[in-house]
Symmetry: C2
């Protein structure tokens, strides 16, 4: 059974990605990063999801990016947008987040002898993030194949982004086909300690619209 490292934030996209990786027959090693995000309930959701989906092992790497500042997700003073989705890069952008998380996944993959990394990035619904684009993922893969011992020894490392071209509705439909319980996932930037969503932040709006568009009941647990 080939080993895969799967980045698992605890949100809808990464949970679906994990389900996809499992359905392809990989022995999944789930990786979460505690980077000082304010919505810590995401990490609780990641732990519950990892257990519920029966992954081989789940590891959390703790890393405090707050000395860098620069994002509403780690900066205590910036406010989370609740005004709807605007053009351009959202203020909730965390600098180099996917690069940092993929780098950590690469490190673990190398130790495990795994040649497959899964990440739930997607260009369709959230194109404001530069590090969610297919050309970025391809470039990371090229770099990764020069960075590691396995690559030097002849193996070929792949970065899988199975949700890349799916709409939020298609992602949800995919997850439901694979039996995923979306009530376990947390997407909200302002979720409470029990993982219940605010229902009004950008992330909640996109998620709710996804369930509507997928024409399936919204499994999200809301605060009210």
């Amino acid at each position: 059974m080939a080993k895969a490292v799967v980045l698992l934030s605890g949100g809808l996209d990464s949970a679906t990605t994990l389900a996809v990786a499992q359905s392809k027959g990989y022995e999944c090693h789930a990786l979460s990063v505690d980077y000082g995000q304010r919505h810590g309930s995401e990490l609780v959701a990641a732990e519950i999801l990892a257990r519920s989906l029966g992954v081989c092992v789940h590891r959390v790497i703790k890393m405090d990016l707050s000395p860098f500042g620069g994002s509403a997700l780690t900066d205590t003073f910036a406010s989370i947008p609740v005004e709807g989705i605007n053009a351009g890069i959202p203020v909730t952008y965390v600098p180099a987040r996917n690069t940092i998380m993929l780098s950590l996944a690469l490190a673990w993959a190398e130790v495990l002898g795994s040649n497959d990394i899964f990440i739930g990035v997607n260009v369709v619904d959230y194109s404001g993030y530069p590090d969610c684009r297919p050309e970025y993922i391809a470039a990371f893969g090229q770099m990764a194949n020069l960075a590691t011992k396995v690559a030097i020894e002849g193996a070929r490392l792949s970065i899988h982004a199975p949700l890349m071209y799916l709409s939020k509705a298609q992602i949800i439909q995919q997850g439901i086909r694979l039996g995923l319980d979306y009530s376990l996932t947390v997407s909200c930037y302002r979720a409470d300690d029990a993982g219940r969503a605010c229902g009004i932040c950008d992330s909640c709006r996109i998620r709710r619209a996804g369930f509507e568009s997928a024409q399936v009941p919204d499994a999200t647990r809301y605060q009210s």
Copy 2:
């Protein structure tokens, strides 16, 4: 004055790289990563060097990679090689270390609005590490230019590796020309709390040979 982010481990190479970046007129932001390395005196050296060289600001990002295992530098049970330099990748290799550190530098550069990152990698004296090769640095640069907000907005981010093609002796000569005090740097994998070197590990051997070959007095503080 253009801002640069300079990776500063506290060793000989990164200290020289910082001196080079300063000599090119950059306002230097030094970044160290506390990744659970056993030789913590490197980080003390980084702090002293940053202050001594008068950098704009020095930040340390703490990150525990030990859950991944896989290296003599973070694994408490593996022993540090003292048998001399062998062919192939050394056991002191930390998986994806440069990728992780460059990713953190990229995050900070983005927040600072800096387009220049300096790293003291070198192919000549220590070619066993895949992530020290010029093709790796080039690939990281290409990925970085797709990863970030600044890149999308049209800026061009550069990864500078000014020591890439220098021998250890040439690096030392360069640093001495720039007035660097190498007694402040720590290269030893088994340095004591005062930053004094063991003199027998691979890193000490390479460093000592560098001073000999450069025909300058070895500024290293040894344990005996």
